[in-house]
Amino acid sequence: MMKGDIFFNLSFRSVRLNFLRSMLAAIGIVIGVVAIASMGMLGTNMQLEVKDQLSSSANTIVISPDAVRMGPPGFTPSSSTTSGVTKSELTKITSVVGTNGTVIPIYTTSGEFTISSVAGRGSIYGIDPSDIGRFLKLNQSYGNGTLDLGVNEVLVGADIAENFNLKVGSRIRIGSFDSTSRPELRIAGVLQARGTVADGVNVDNGIVVNSQWYTEQYGGKDEWSQVNVIVKDTDYISAIETALDQKLNTNAKTPAVRITDATTQLETETSTLSTVTTFIMAIGGISLLVAAVSIFNVMMMSVSERIQEIGILLSIGTEKGEVRRMFMYEAFILGLLGAGIGGAASLVIGYSVVDAMIGTTAYFFEPASILYVPAAMLIGVVVCVISGVYPAWRASNMDPIDALRSE
């Protein structure tokens, strides 16, 4: 339809006649489209990756002690004040969860360690060996490890294993250099990398020890840093959280525990990433504004150069709307040219940026990510068409007599 339109043909020929100028104007659109699409894809790929990582622990409820209220200044807490989830609370959790899930109490602290006289720092998790296999997995490429931890054995995270060049059977001393007691433990296995997780157990840069060894070393027996509940059916996760809240937080003003799940963290993380993505895309959008000015300039030049032609068209019976359409087509063709090249370039540049920044392109071709290419192209074309409105209006409202007289 458009191809057979005489006004489209006139516009196309005009662009072709001034190809270099048209291309230079379209480059602005190319840059704008690439900026918006690449940044959009980068942000979406980040969101998708975080979502994917957090969804691996989407079936986990994390129960942690709420901020301990010490009372007014000068208040001395009683000896019964604890900073962890207590045994009675654990019993309540177990009774609420019942057969709907598995309850895993976890001790956590951060501490120093030494491997072959090289010091390091990381999180130390004390977990009952029977619970470890419920949510952690071994990476057997470091040797044939086991999750069945003995009292003097540890599991190390993927980052520590890589940074310290460890393998199963290596030795690690836990405790600071100036500490009198720095027990040596055997590395029983290296854990698979978990990335960003919502269950509070970020073992990539951490160490997992037998809970018995942990309490012997650090004390705090039966005062867990957190209790994770892995529910069997995520459909019931809200119901279980409500039941736990009712059972544990009997005093609404001073809740004993905080109950969270992956949804909360996912919402926070995606919201933050979304804001950052929008901001970066807006910066990319500025280049489109610059492009709009360039397209406007080229269109005004086109109108100025073709005044006599406009006069001819109007004098032999071309309607104002048809003249307007001709110049709008020209802006549209410039937009299409820029958006087409920009779209193709976005795929290449976006892919490279995502690969370089995130380290994986697994999500690049996901609809939510790849959709930014046509969206940015559409924005590019729309910006061009809008830039062409005034020049087209000006052309169509010329006085044919004056236009014919111009040389």
Binding site: E309, I312, S315, T318, I401
Partner: protein, 226 residues
Amino acid sequence: MTGTPIIQLLDVTKTYHLESGDFTALDHVTLEILENDFVAIMGPSGSGKSTMMNQLGILDVPSSGKLFIDRKDVAALSGLERTHMRRDTIGYIFQKFYLIPLLSAYENVEYPLILKYKKHDTTGKAAALLEAVGIDRDMSTHRPTQLSGGQQQRVAIARALVNDPKILLCDEPTGNLDSKTGFQIMDILCGLHREGKTVILVTHDPNIAEYAQRTIRLVDGRVAES
């Protein structure tokens, strides 16, 4: 004078408001041009010939007075109706040809047909007219810049005729041509007049004006001789 007037000017005045003051290009002009007339409009520079052609070509409207073209009061028409009259009722032939540079000779002739019927010519009318004015098929694919002045004017005539207008307005149609080509073009216009067209010609050249049946002389915006 007998016959039906196709153009009527009743006390037409055209005044331009310039910084240096008002300038009256047409001063109370009253005249009639009949159907199938062949009229030459002559006069010195600044006499109002171009203003008269702009009025007759509906590119402009009178400041006062009435102008009827094909029995329609031009001033009472909407902008779109005037555009359609330019397209359908009037064929304009210019001294400088004014072909559309981006289109081939054939496309230039086909263009008014597309404007009118909103589709490409499937009747062969554009090609037949080009052939009638002496532009062969090979030449019709050329752009205006690839044609001689005479060829361009022939294409312009074909373009002016393609929508079968009642009136042909010719503004110095031979002004940019050598005398031999000029006479050839005049022969074409005479033929069109014989076929029933109303031909109105602006010229400085008395030899060209001799082709017309009637001469209107303008002096200082007034009709000195009709």
